[in-house]
């Protein structure tokens, strides 16, 4: 087994994505308009929302991996599910940390039961349960099945959670930049750019993590 970045494609991918991320930050600092009353805090939006997008995308991948694991009975999909669950949780944690930091200047207080943040919190808690079950679930073959099932159940629940949280406190508006389509293009285009770059970063992280988990299971098997 070779290190992931010995491979030329992976290495150039890493360099390319690192460059794109740096360009992204430069773009946000230089080319985006300064929104009145929010100033620099509004620019948090350009990486907070893509982080949330990547988190939800990752959890979607966990669900797909779970379904494919049950259908094809191939352990590869269990690896994919685990890697996606980990990376998804990392990004969701970032959302839950940067959310209050963003909210404090905008809303005045760190936490509001805003629908998408609350959905993120609930999903995060579900995945804490996922990892606890991975650890304490018992026999490894059984745990793989349970993990796939929890991944499927969790994402199936997401739309239901979101709708119920949205109507729970209707007086709480979503964070200011909800209506994407109505945003002026000076905001929309850098945002979409950031979104795409984060997605590419996610793909790289996912492939890398799958690789490392695979090495881990092979080393364990050898020992």
């Amino acid at each position: 087994m070779k290190p992931f970045f010995n491979n030329k494609t992976n290495r150039s991918g890493l360099i390319l994505i690192a460059a794109m991320m740096l360009f992204n930050v430069w773009n946000v600092i230089m080319n985006t308009p300064m929104v009145p009353e929010q100033h620099w805090a509004q620019k948090i939006f350009y990486i907070h929302v893509p982080s949330a997008w990547v988190g939800f995308l990752s959890y979607f991948v966990v669900m797909v991996a779970g379904i494919l694991f049950f259908m094809k009975k191939d352990d590869y999909w269990d690896l994919v599910g685990l890697a996606a669950a980990e990376i998804g949780t990392v990004f969701m944690s970032l959302v839950l940390i940067t959310g209050p930091i963003w909210a404090t200047p905008i809303w005045g207080k760190p936490w509001i039961w805003e629908p998408r943040l609350t959905t993120t919190l609930i999903l995060f808690l579900i995945y804490i349960g996922y990892f606890m079950m991975r650890t304490f679930g018992g026999h490894i073959e059984r745990v793989k099945r349970y993990a796939a099932a929890v991944g499927i159940i969790a994402f199936v629940d997401v739309p239901i959670i979101f709708v119920s949280v949205k109507f729970w406190t209707p007086e709480i508006q979503s964070h200011p930049q909800v209506e994407m389509a109505q945003q002026p293009s000076e905001i929309l285009i850098p945002f979409l750019l950031s979104l795409s770059i984060f997605t590419l970063l996610y793909v790289l992280m996912l492939k890398y993590r799958i690789h490392v988990i695979r090495i881990n299971s092979r080393v364990r098997a050898n020992v």
């Binding site: 049950f70 609930i122 999903l123 808690l125 579900i126 804490i128 349960g129 996922y130 606890m132 079950m133 304490f136 679930g137 018992g138 059984r142 099945r145 349970y146 796939a148 099932a149 929890v150 499927i152 159940i153 969790a154 199936v156 629940d157 239901i160 959670i161 709708v163 119920s164 949280v165 109507f167 729970w168």
Partner: protein
């Protein structure tokens, strides 16, 4: 086949009444704790009452589901059950239905103490209240049966079950509180229609998902 399974569940319970009794006693002690620990006037309690009721139901459901599944764990009856040539989705359905029945029985018994201890008025439209409560029980039990199928054979099952269950069931909790709250004050149907739709969606989706996934979950 399916009805044999269901009859088995209900007869086992009918003999020992273990599950409903433990659920009932636990429910009563929760109500007592609510009454003792609340420091507020009756009007404020009336506002919190729907939430407290469903919170209690949730805790009691965890106990009940834990009991019904640990029956099987005791003599490793579960392995024998899944080696039988039946559709394993039926196991999910029987657990769901029997859990629903136990929960409903428990709620029926606990209703009067709940209203009297916390000094709340009965709702003005009792039949609608009962109907929606039954549906909500159904929804809670659908998710609970599915999750316990996963959590029960794990090591820390008593801890794992609530940890997995509560976030997953949170939309049901929100909807249940909204529905009961609206019915208590006599709001018209249009106010709580959306919440009823959410409950029905949960029942349909988790029923289907549970029925489908149970086959895969219980493979050995």
């Amino acid at each position: 086949m399916f009805f044999t399974l269901l009859k088995k569940e209900l007869f086992v319970e009918f003999r020992s009444r273990e599950v409903t009794l433990s659920m009932l006693v636990f429910g009563l002690s929760i109500i007592l704790t609510f009454a003792l620990s609340s420091n507020v006037s009756p009007t404020i309690i009336a506002n919190y009452a729907p939430g407290m009721f469903w919170l209690m139901v949730l805790f009691v459901a965890v106990i009940g589901v834990h009991r019904t599944f640990s029956y099987e764990k005791e003599f490793d009856a579960f392995s024998m059950l899944i080696s039988a040539p039946i559709d394993r989705g039926f196991i999910f359905l029987t657990k769901w239905i029997s859990g629903f029945i136990f929960l409903t029985i428990m709620e029926g018994l606990i209703l009067i103490p709940f209203f009297k201890f916390l000094m709340i008025d009965f709702p003005s439209q009792p039949w609608i209240a009962i109907g929606t409560t039954l549906l909500i029980n159904c929804a809670i039990m659908a998710i609970a049966s599915l999750v316990s199928g996963i959590a029960m054979r794990a090591r820390l099952s008593e801890v794992l079950l609530p940890i997995l269950l509560f976030p997953l069931v949170s939309p049901v909790l929100i909807a249940a509180t909204k529905i009961s709250g609206s019915i208590m004050v006599g709001d018209p149907y249009s106010f709580w229609k959306i919440w009823l739709l959410i409950i029905l969606t949960v029942i349909v989706i988790f029923g289907l998902v549970g029925y489908t996934l149970f086959d895969f979950i219980t493979e050995e």
